[in-house]
Amino acid sequence: MKKTLFDKLWEQHIVTGDEGKPQLLYIDLHLVHEVTSPQAFEGLRLSNRKVRRPDLTFATMDHNVPTENQLVITDLIAKQQMDTLRNNCQEFNIPLADITDEEQGIVHVIGPELGLTQPGKTIVCGDSHTSTHGAFGALAFGIGTSEVEHVLATQTLWQVKPKSMGVCLEGNLPKGVYAKDIILHLLATYGVSMGTGHVIEFYGETISNMSMEERMTICNMAIEGGAKAGLVAPDQKTFEYLKDRRYTVNSYNERLVDWKKLYTDKGANFDKEIFVDVSTLAPYVTWGTNPGMGVRIDEALPTIKDENDERAYEYMGLQPEITPKEIPVQHVFIGSCTNSRLSDLEEAAAYIKGKKVNSNVRALVVPGSKQVRNAAMKQGLHTIFIEAGFEWREAGCSMCLAMNPDQVPAGEHCASTSNRNFEGRQGKGARTHLVSPVMAAAAAVHGHFIDIRKEQTNETVTYA
């Protein structure tokens, strides 16, 4: 019987139960953060339960940490949540990357960085963007707080097996078009519930050629398509990435044997399949209030087809038929679990070098982790950003969801490398446009969106 990668991962983790019914799955790694865990720990205490496997649990603080100066927490309620996590980790003996630790960062950035994220694992976290870890061939998905408590107590979860979906990406990405644009294209074309009830495996030539960081960007936003999880089969790039990480260094060779068995068998069928030639794609900009409301930079905004569109246009203060280039941008946010890794910062910095942030724009770079931040500083990227007029921040989720002081004021537009453009996401009344890091950097310079393909081409011509 031919099996998909997803079939294999699922089968390997069944503790008990029959297919088609809720099955008890074993969880290999449980990542915990300050916002969705306090009630779960409280539940354990109330029922006098323990954490079954603190050694398979790892916590950090990211959602509401300040990024200007991490040691000055002016929001007392946020501080209480961080203190609560610290106390809970101590009480239940869970390893914690605390705010002052060198390993702190966005949970979906540090998991891979530390080598906690590995092929073949089941990984959960009380955060929907847990799908990111699927880039390593792990079955990774977000859960609610009751499920967080369930995993803490039992190291398992009851789940009904989702269906499988294959997304085949072929062709070379044109210049100025990035992994972010692929996922925005998929969402714009197939909708924000294209993957509901499914686990999506991304495969094909384009995926094989991608770096781990690009694969993470795509899997990260699989949840925006409603998918249970995103997956990429591990390959040599995956193995290389994980080779000398803290949590793999001692067991690498032994684990490699199992990791190499993780692929979709030739001839295995997906329940649903999509094929995309990425060589015809363009940079994308979202215009509306869900990640599927996006257009190519060279396309006009769509006509209103229903009440959802009407409401989105009203909230965004935009009209159909204008082009994304006409949208004024007052804020730029480069960061989030989607696009805050070293390569994202490198690409944005390469664009920004020698340019200046437009005087109407406030621009932020928020590295995904302390390790990313330090690596970027070693290369001098921070100097490039600061000289251009960007604010260079500490690691955290920051303006992606604006739980900390980094917010966009009502009615203003933000070019953001994050994953959600929901109403109020970056602050009450804030108008978010999702883009790639280089598109965001270009918007910072120009004060509106531009077609970076043209600018990049022009430069080539000038130098030639």
């Binding site: 008890l24 074993y26 009440e307 959600r420 109403e423």
Partner: protein, 191 residues
């Protein structure tokens, strides 16, 4: 968790698609460390003006709909963030049932864990339910998987295990603990 067998109540409709959990409960309220008290902030940005006075044009502030316990909505309800604060807020406000065209997976699971019943009904049926007046009750019979309305009775589907949990108000963790030997056995082989 309180058992849920039948539920009788009035309705309120917000027929947009893709209502996300950021809308249901905005992030500024996620900093609390309790499970309760979120109802006040349900649909916060739609429900209140900046000065916290009620936005009368939002349907939840309509006097006739204030006692509704059944919410009717569009497709992909509860998409986005995994925050369980969303069902906590809906439940705390007074909703026990959400009827939608479809649900996001994590939200659906989160509802079941909190004794709330998410029901999928097709567009034509929901378009009828939207016409219900503020004082017109409908009844949900989980045992027989029926929504009983003045327009007729409509069947819905639910996994039999989830149904059993709701009917009996069972504690998930206590059930799982009964499988401890199997978990140990799994760990001895794999972990």
């Amino acid at each position: 968790m309180k058992p849920l067998r039948t539920h009788k109540g009035t309705t309120v409709s917000i027929m947009l698609d893709n209502i996300d959990t950021d809308q249901i409960i905005p992030k500024q309220y996620l900093k609390r460390i309790e499970r309760t008290g979120f109802g006040e902030f349900l649909f916060d940005e739609w429900r209140y003006h900046d000065d916290r006075s009620p936005n009368q044009s939002f349907v939840l502030n309509n006097e006739e709909r204030k006692t509704a316990t059944i919410l009717i909505s569009g497709h992909n309800f509860g998409c986005g963030s995994s925050r369980e604060h969303a069902p906590w807020a809906l439940h705390d406000y007074g909703f026990t049932i959400v009827i939608a065209g479809s649900f996001a997976d994590i939200f659906y699971n989160n509802c079941i864990k909190n004794g709330m019943l998410p029901i999928v009904l097709d567009d034509a049926i929901r378009q009828k339910l939207v016409t219900l007046k503020g004082d017109q009750e409908i009844e949900i019979d989980l045992e027989h998987q029926l929504v009983k309305t003045p327009f007729g009775n409509y069947e819905f589907t639910i996994d039999s295990v989830w149904k059993d949990k709701l009917l009996n108000g069972l504690d998930d963790i206590a059930i799982t603990m009964q499988y401890e030997d199997k978990i140990e056995q799994y760990e001895s082989v794999r972990v």
